[in-house]
Symmetry: C2
Subunit: 213 residues, 2 copies
Amino acid sequence: MEKIELETVCIPVSVIRRLPRYLTEAQRLCQEGVEWVSSAILAKTLGLTSSTVRQDLSYIDFKGISKRGYSAIGLETALARTLGVDRDVVCLLVGAGNLGRALSMHEGFARQGFKIVGVFDNNPAIVGKKIGRFTVQGMDDIAPHVAAGTVDIGIISVPHDAAQDVADLLIKAGVRGLLNMTTAHLQVPETVSVVDVRILLSLRELAYRVRSR
Amino acid sequence: MEKIELETVCIPVSVIRRLPRYLTEAQRLCQEGVEWVSSAILAKTLGLTSSTVRQDLSYIDFKGISKRGYSAIGLETALARTLGVDRDVVCLLVGAGNLGRALSMHEGFARQGFKIVGVFDNNPAIVGKKIGRFTVQGMDDIAPHVAAGTVDIGIISVPHDAAQDVADLLIKAGVRGLLNMTTAHLQVPETVSVVDVRILLSLRELAYRVRSR
DNA sequence: TAGATTGTTAATCGATTAACAATC
DNA sequence: TAGATTGTTAATCGATTAACAATC
């Protein structure tokens, strides 16, 4: 009785967080016409050790070559495949305050394959208003939008106290990934992924570090 | 020959990152009139284990009480003192694109003690324009501004390729802490602290996690 | 008092780094 | 060939979790 091992190697979260940075750097190197890059150079550029770089890259389906290093193009291709960069990621944005507005108008995201397809807010004074190329929609419009099944990610940029309700609503509608821009901790079922971007907490961390010297 | 131990306990970065979250929660509890909170409840609310909570809180100058837990007010006070929340943190913002504009107009930061005192950009088409209550200044105005010695933090929200130059300029002017909103890795001397907020990388991480299920 | 909850020590877990044989 | 650089294993480091005596 043999076991067929379906080599779906699980990539640790710590590595996943760095892969996009290698991709960005590989793209840059390709643009500049650089053909080969060593783990030592990559490490220097990204603030890592060469050991970490080699460990990380061992997770993707791509091999370097002794004495030469990694092919920039090969690296870019393999990382893009691993991260699924070829396909657009469809996002909904909830919360049309200053931050939400900035995110919805940020061309950088669209250029990198993150397409915002709807902006929502619960404030009647804002609903119906134009923000860049979007017309702000009410919260009731979220569910039908998600129902189409094309939405990958919900971006939450509402006040702290509204965050959990918005998360619940998005999850109920079927969204499986949340980018949490609030200071709240979101309680979600196992099937849903959350990544936190907490600018205020980062500022506090920084303030502490600057002062304690 | 005795050694006098100056108990300046160094708080690990992992703990520092969580302290602001305890503070936010303690403030909320106080507002709601809650007097006592246990490590188990705090853990539940913040998505941690009670063990982690007790370990973390052991670093601040404040003790809980067996059977009752932590006094919400005492916790708030001690955390505020540890994090230096009483004093305003003075920030400069460099890069008046969508993101920079949003940050400069975000009242939440000011309310939490982070005062932006100047917005700068190298684009002559933007310099002199009004953004909220700010008039965008040119890059040459940064150095004299910092020279006054009151600036704690520089916030960098410029394109990837300009990030390092801006960091160098801010550091040369005397800034000791940088909030990096770009995808670039900043090379800085040991005396300077950097905290990264990389929204695009967070989006990529999330996209990967949503897809690999 | 009995029981709940802390503070702290020890055990576990995972991530990073070091080391080195394989190899181009 | 000699030397540089990879891929991978083993060692280290640090963070998280478990356990439990102290204690209110």
